[in-house]
């Protein structure tokens, strides 16, 4: 065995240091580009998720077309117009999970190690993934607005209303994407992140997504009224069925921001936990 020639107290090279926030920006940008490229080149991971909410909206608008005349139902052009915001939020929720599954795949494949073994700003690993889901959310929102408009369900809030929907989608995608990243980092498994999908689905169904809370009864109504998704959907819905009003969207923005803060805190904690094994 070779004896170590230098004692532990021996000279250590001076580290000139480099990095910090200045390094984090280009790292986040290049990893965001990778995330977007990955989505673009792998349409199967989001195409089906993007079609599914449209099918639900189509079935519901056919089944519940006459429900818009019920007392207590808000004034809308059609049921399709009523479900537009919920359909957007649904597709954004599904798309956002992708941020976590991709991070899980990076952990499974060892690409995460490649990033960690390089002088990568740690937070950029998360930001890159979140940027990917945010870009997807913008594309999905604009696509849905266009498709619904083609079927006569327009956004009464016009361009400012659409912009509000887009900003809400981005915030929600970052919030839910952060949560998915936290699960991915905790479990190190893309499959585990995918399995959290039904939870999101249940949250959505017990909200005002597909029916006004005013027409619900019992425990279902109680839960729906307290479901943060209801507050988000109602704020977004106002832009679609009434008109642009930023104050109506304030609660929705606040909910999204709270989700972002909470999920980002969780994701950073899980990232630190995972990196704690490293030097």
């Amino acid at each position: 065995m070779t004896a170590a020639a230098v004692p532990a107290e021996g000279p250590t090279r001076h580290d000139p240091g480099r990095g910090g926030f200045a390094a984090a920006v280009p790292h986040a940008l290049v990893l965001s580009r990778r995330a977007v490229l990955g989505l673009w080149r792998q349409p199967n991971v989001w195409v089906f998720g993007s079609i599914f909410p449209l099918l639900i909206a189509a079935v519901q608008s056919s089944a519940f077309a006459r429900s818009t005349g019920l007392p207590g139902f808000p004034e809308v052009d059609s049921f399709l117009q009523f479900v537009l915001p919920a359909t957007i939020i649904q597709v954004v929720l599904f798309g956002s999970i992708n941020g976590g599954t991709e991070l899980g795949l990076d952990l499974e494949s060892g690409f995460f190690d490649r990033l960690v073994a390089a002088p990568t700003a740690r937070v950029a690993i998360l930001l890159g993934r979140l940027a990917g889901v945010a870009v997807l959310a913008v594309a999905q929102t604009l696509l849905y607005v266009a498709i619904f408009a083609a079927f006569g369900a327009t956004v009464r809030g016009g361009i400012p209303g659409i912009a509000t929907l887009v900003v809400l989608s981005v915030l929600l995608s970052v919030g839910i994407g952060g949560l998915a990243c936290a699960i991915g980092l905790r479990t190190g498994s893309a499959e585990a992140v995918g399995n959290s999908f039904p939870l999101v689905f249940i949250l959505l169904f017990i909200s005002s997504a597909f029916f006004p809370v005013e027409l619900m009864t019992g425990w279902y109504r109680s839960v729906a009224e307290r479901n943060p998704l209801t507050w988000m959907i109602d704020g977004a819905r106002h832009q679609v069925i009434v008109g642009f009003d930023l104050s109506e969207a304030a609660t929705a923005f606040a909910v999204a921001l709270v989700i972002i803060v909470g999920s980002f805190w969780l994701a950073v904690r899980q990232l630190q936990r995972r990196l704690a094994v490293a030097s």
């Binding site: 070779t2 170590a4 960690v116 030097s279």
Partner: protein, 314 residues
């Protein structure tokens, strides 16, 4: 000038399991240092510690002069790492991955483009540079992995089992690349392998690791010379094993061999072969196979651990 790698008493425990048990290392500048051992010996755990991916449970190490525990970011800037399995995003092209790696190392765009072009040419991937990695063969992936680990011209290059799972042609190509890199640029290479031939071909100095401990180290020539006598390996049918062993032990000390074989270190060397064969014939042994091998790294491993490495590979 700092030593590329130095470590003392490096330990890593996973619960009750001691994966690395007090490893001391000194790797000199410009050296290709081979870390040879079977699966599960602790090779990758040591690489993960030296590349800052895993905290040591005990001991200390410096890489490129930086302490792995307290100066991890500086270590990461100074090293190139190609880990086992070449984890490369299959959706990206070679050029895109080199660009990504360059940005992570803070290399200006123009410089990055120049180096990427050079590296792609060097590893023979210029034509495939704009193809997605998912379409690459195993050998191409490893070569790209090598290029990625070199983009910032590292002082120390870590290659963790770089040719595991590769076909012989790709293996030879990668060996050539490592040799060139070392001889032309003087890059210090720390290479782990479970292949005897790979360690023998590439490494100027070898450490043999087993159960988390270094059991031998030195140049391949010195290690083999220390084993001394060549190995005589005899294969007979089961019924003759005991008799064969009895005869052979008159000519040298027994060495580990797989089932159905008896091996000894033939003290008299090749000159004693005729006598051995006559003795076996007189004992009525029906030989199935006989070979006399100069001491190999496998013999070194066997002498140190009591087991054979050859054939234990996955």
């Amino acid at each position: 000038m700092s030593l590329p790698i130095e470590a003392e008493g490096l330990v890593r425990r996973f619960g009750e399991l001691v994966a690395v048990d007090g490893v001391d290392l000194v790797v000199e500048p410009g050296e290709v240092f081979g870390f040879l051992g079977p699966n599960g010996a602790g090779k990758s755990t040591i690489v993960r510690m030296l590349t800052t991916l895993l905290k040591p449970s005990g001991g200390w190490a410096r890489v490129a002069g930086f302490d792995i525990a307290t100066q991890a970011p500086a270590v990461r800037r100074a090293i190139g790492v190609a880990l086992q399995d070449a984890a490369i995003d299959p959706l990206m092209t070679g050029t895109e991955l080199l660009h990504l790696q360059s940005v992570l190392h803070g290399i200006p765009r123009r410089e990055a483009n120049r180096r990427s072009g050079e590296l792609l040419e060097r590893v023979g991937l210029t034509a495939a540079a704009d193809r997605r990695v998912g379409t690459y063969s195993g050998g191409m992936r490893r070569r790209l992995d090598l290029a990625l680990s070199l983009v910032h011209e590292p002082e120390v290059l870590f290659l963790d089992e770089p040719t595991t799972g590769l076909d012989p042609t790709s293996r030879l190509a990668l060996w050539e690349e490592v040799r060139t890199l070392n001889s032309e640029r003087g890059t210090t290479v720390f290479l782990t392998t479970q292949y005897l031939e790979e360690a023998d071909e590439l490494a100027g100095r070898i450490a043999i690791i087993d159960n988390g401990r270094i059991v031998r180290d030195g140049t391949p020539t010195a290690l083999k010379a220390a084993v001394g006598a060549p190995t005589l390996l005899v294969e007979v049918d089961e019924a003759h094993l005991v008799g064969t062993r009895e005869v052979l032990l008159r000519f040298g000390e027994e060495r580990p061999a797989r089932d159905g074989r008896v091996a000894i270190g033939l003290s008299g060397g090749a000159a004693a072969m005729a006598t051995v064969i006559r003795a076996l014939d007189e004992a009525g042994v029906a030989l199935q196979h006989v070979e006399l091998d100069s001491p190999s790294l496998d013999d070194v491993f066997a002498e140190a651990t009591g087991r054979r490495l050859e054939g234990a590979e996955s």
